[in-house]
């Protein structure tokens, strides 16, 4: 591989990149949150007096909202502080700010909270979801879709395999805790924060605080890892209110314990999956899913209708039914965690596929390939499948698995699992480019979150269109006042969607240069001479300085804009019985191979080799793409084997720390081979497909199948801890 150095590498390696946790401003106060002492209960009183009695402390609670917010209480549906009911353990009930961190923590502890505790609602099984009844969690989403003659499929089947899978909650564990600095600047509520979505945060903050969007300014900082957890505002509303109350800038950062307790992430789910098989083919599949949505509000859920489709799998099945329920429990609200709930759904579906193949006595890869979607097929909801490289990935993964099996030691198994995903290219964005005599600037609101999608991905698109060398392209970060609108860095969309806006803006620029040079636009390339950019077309050479007008030079350069507001395919709404389902925008497949060793006495699993075949459309920047796959696989291995949020009976999170919540460490990751399958074009520039989320999706399933191959243990629960494997092996 040729090495392409990330432009942010040097500064990051020298510790010269300032994250939100590193910022301080003169006169700044330190904020701290007052946690709810129970997971469910009624608030009798909150006494801020003892905190306010401490010199220099500012304290705010629910009764202060009316005086601090212009429109009484902001968003009544999701108040910054609850006034009556506690929804989850450690939910912020009040907030304080003080001149030092220590004093702020002391003040937070001094607040006296009196509550009437109630038993937390945590159970999502063991009752009729259509009629949960009293003391059961409320249903916040119900989705149901059907297609084909399910009764005929199940009535005439050779056999039916019915299985139930349970998956645990997992946390993003970005190493940088949530942090921000808020300041009221005249009429403007300004927050500098670590966010994936500056514009989304502005919109949410406006709604929560009851302010018009133009009075809120969000300035993004470098992001120390996000994985979905730094989209919706978390610390920002409290910091802004503390700044408003104190008249000072306020820094609010979560402790790592709070990071676990308050983070919006994946929560437990239960999957029932039943397949009817006749003549070696799946003729019908029925899926029933229950999802713990934590303290989510009804009507705001998208995960249920989106992720449930993955339980049916990317396979041709003539008759299907899928039904999902999301319940409001006493945990923090469900949030997006790298491919929200897809690794969990696919774990159930793909383990089920290997169990079906075993029952049939057929090769699991061949079994998949005889069912897998290809371009032109239709999804379960009747959407036409676009270019889709999954079959090619499967073919190559199957061949590699066959090779690996030849050197498999005793108690070792090799298996394949697949996953698919759709980039969220429907979420739109705009790009602004400024070409000066010496550089090309890409004006952006979002900072790089780590994956490289901003600092390499969209930059590579501009490079390709204009032929400009990478050290002449710079991403110029602006706050929400002056950056062009973009939906944000999430849903694997940055390259695929924002990249299209950048591509369009670069094409506009190239057209303009072509006109000024009187040559065909597609012949124009930018090169450099004596430190100046020069437009070249055949024998024409003209410096950018001489091509720009005086006005343009005075304005810093020639500006061009591009917009991308994508469209999705359409689903056949006749198949939808209830709730909201979503179409896919493109089809991104992946097939993984794992070799695992299972200790027959303890059930301990060690992954010894791993390979990922990724349907990438077009790889735009190889090192970045490879890094995304390696990182996604490692994160998936955590979901597969060790990561689990454990909630105590009283509703508190009992493993809120990195010692007890185990993410993979360096020694636990096997060598990971990364292979890209190109040519099945996605929606992005040059056919690129988003690669942020796809690599995590097949991992738990692939490991599960390798455990099955190694030991015969049919795993139905995540994570696959030694204890669970031992139980499956009947050792316990």
């Amino acid at each position: 591989m040729t090495f392409t150095v990330r432009p942010d590498a040097d500064a990051k390696l020298r510790g010269q990149v300032a994250f939100a946790t590193d910022l301080s401003v003169p006169g700044m106060l330190w904020g701290a949150l007052v946690p709810a002492p129970v997971a469910r209960g009624r608030i009798r009183s909150i006494d801020l007096g003892p905190a306010r009695a401490i010199d220099g402390v500012v304290a705010i609670g629910p009764t202060d909202l009316a005086r601090l917010l212009p429109s009484a209480t902001g968003d009544a549906e999701r108040p910054v502080f609850p006034t009556d009911r506690i929804q989850y353990h450690s939910q912020p009930l009040a907030a304080v700010a003080a001149p030092t961190r220590e004093l702020a923590r002391r003040a937070a502890r001094a607040v006296r909270v009196d509550v009437e505790p109630l038993p937390p609602l945590e159970e999502i099984e063991g009752f009729d979801p259509a009629h949960p009844g009293p003391d059961r969690p409320e249903v916040i989403a119900h989705v149901l879709a059907r297609h084909g003659d399910l009764d005929a499929a199940f009535g005439s089947a050779d056999f039916v395999l019915s299985e139930t899978y349970r998956t645990a909650g997992v946390c993003q564990v970005a190493l940088e805790p949530h942090a921000c600095i808020a300041e009221i600047q005249g009429d403007v509520w300004h927050v500098t924060t670590s966010t994936q979505t500056p514009f989304g945060a502005r919109e949410d903050l406006a709604s929560m605080l009851g302010l018009p969007e133009e009075r809120i300014v969000v300035e993004g900082t470098w992001v120390g890892g996000a994985f979905g957890g730094k989209g919706a505002p978390l610390v920002e509303p409290y910091a802004l209110l503390l700044a408003r109350a104190s008249g000072r800038p306020v820094r609010l950062a979560l402790s790592y314990r709070e990071e676990f307790q308050l983070g919006r992430t994946s929560l437990p789910s239960v999957v029932r999956i039943e397949s009817a098989v006749k003549g070696g083919r799946i003729t019908g599949r029925r899926v029933h899913w229950r999802l713990d949505a934590g303290a989510s509000l009804p009507g705001r859920d998208f995960t249920t209708g989106y992720a449930i489709g993955f339980i049916l799998g990317p396979y041709r099945i003539p008759a299907i039914e899928m039904e999902g329920y999301a319940f409001r429990t006493n945990k923090p609200p469900l949030g997006p965690h790298r491919a929200p709930m897809a690794p969990q759904c696919v774990f159930a579906e793909e383990s089920h596929m290997d169990h079906l193949a075993a029952r049939l006595g057929v090769d699991p890869v061949a079994f998949r390939r005889s069912h897998v979607w290809k371009e032109g097929d239709f999804t379960h909801l009747g959407q036409k499948v676009g270019p889709f490289g999954l079959d090619r990935c499967l073919e190559r993964a199957g061949a590699l698995a066959t090779t690996w099996r030849k050197d498999a030691a005793p108690n070792t198994g090799v298996a394949v699992g697949v996953g698919f995903w759709s980039t969220v290219t429907g979420a739109g964005g705009e790009a602004r480019l400024v070409l000066s005599p010496t550089e090309l600037k890409i004006i952006e609101g979002e900072r790089e979150i780590g994956s490289g999608s901003v600092i390499r991905g969209i930059v590579a698109v501009a490079e390709t269109v204009l032929g400009i060398s990478r050290d002449r392209v710079r991403v110029d970060y602006h706050d929400t006042r002056s950056a062009p609108f973009d939906s944000g860095v999430f849903g694997s969309r940055t390259l695929a969607a924002l990249g299209q806006a950048v591509q369009k803006a670069a094409l506009v620029l190239r057209d303009e240069l072509g006109k000024r040079l009187s040559v065909p636009a597609d012949s124009v390339q930018l090169t450099e001479e004596n430190g100046e950019l020069v437009a070249v077309s055949g024998r024409h050479r003209e410096s950018i300085r001489s091509l720009l007008t005086e006005t343009e030079l005075a304005a810093g350069g020639l500006t061009s804009e591009g917009r991308h507001y994508g469209t999705s395919g359409e689903i056949d709404t006749a198949r939808v019985v209830e709730g909201t389902f979503y179409p896919y925008t493109d089809f991104t497949g992946a097939a993984h191979v794992a070799m695992v060793k299972v200790d027959p006495e303890t059930g301990a699993v060690r992954v010894t080799r791993y390979a990922a075949f990724q349907d990438a459309g077009k790889v735009v920047d190889l090192p970045t793409a490879q890094g995304s796959i390696e990182g996604g696989v490692a994160m998936g291995l955590g979901t597969a084997l060790t990561e689990e949020t454990t909630w105590a009976a009283d509703g508190h999170l009992s493993n809120a720390g990195l010692l007890d919540y185990r993410i993979p460490t360096l020694g636990e990751i096997p060598p990971i081979e990364v292979h890209f399958v190109e040519g099945f074009s996605g929606a992005g520039p040059y056919g690129a497909k988003g690669l942020g989320e796809p690599p995590i999706i097949p991992v738990p399933a692939t490991v599960s199948n390798a455990i099955f191959a190694a030991s015969g243990a049919a795993m139905t629960e995540l994570p696959m801890t030694p204890e669970r494997v031992a139980r499956a092996l009947k050792l316990l």
Binding site: A9, R14, D22, L175, G224, G450, S451, L658, I669
Partner: protein, 158 residues
């Protein structure tokens, strides 16, 4: 908390700290008193390694180290490795292998690996060095590129 005089040498510059409260963490002293923000604050419980600094050349977790415990010692942060030849080799290897993404854990890795190379680089294998980095967590890279960077810098040892 009572204050007592503390003298540290940070990055070869003597620093006289007369107002550090007893009980202050070295992490907070370097970050908030000295403004050396290259040392990152992650978990503050000694589990992630992002705050790794050197005390008299050996890696320590500055979040679990009380400043007063090491009065008189020489502290080196990532900023102090700017002119260090081993530190420069580590940075070059990480850069070439793409062994960083968000960059939050990165200074901790640079400091820890630099100290490992100086301490045991001559006799330890690349695999052993990589294993000794097990106390530094990274969530973005999946460690694959970090292991490649360790191999590269180990292979290029003078």
């Amino acid at each position: 908390m009572t204050a007592s005089p503390a003298r540290l040498t940070v990055n070869a510059v003597p620093v006289d700290l007369t107002t550090v409260p007893v009980g202050e963490r070295l992490l907070d002293t370097v970050r908030w008193r000295l403004g050396l923000k290259g040392t990152k604050e992650g978990c503050r419980t000694g589990d992630c390694g992002a705050c790794t600094v050197l005390i008299d050349g050996r890696s320590v977790l500055s979040c679990l180290t009380l400043t007063h415990e090491f009065t008189g010692a020489a502290v080196t942060t990532v900023e102090g490795l700017e002119g260090d030849p081993t530190g420069a080799r580590v940075r070059a290897a990480f850069e070439k292998e793409g062994a960083l993404q968000c960059g939050y854990c990165t200074p901790g890795f640079v400091v820890a690996l630099t100290s490992l190379l100086k301490e045991r680089g001559a006799e330890a294998s690349a695999e052993e060095l990589a294993e000794d980095l097990g106390g530094n967590l990274c969530r973005c890279t999946g460690y694959a590129a970090i292991v490649r960077a360790v191999r590269r810098v180990h292979g290029e040892m003078p």
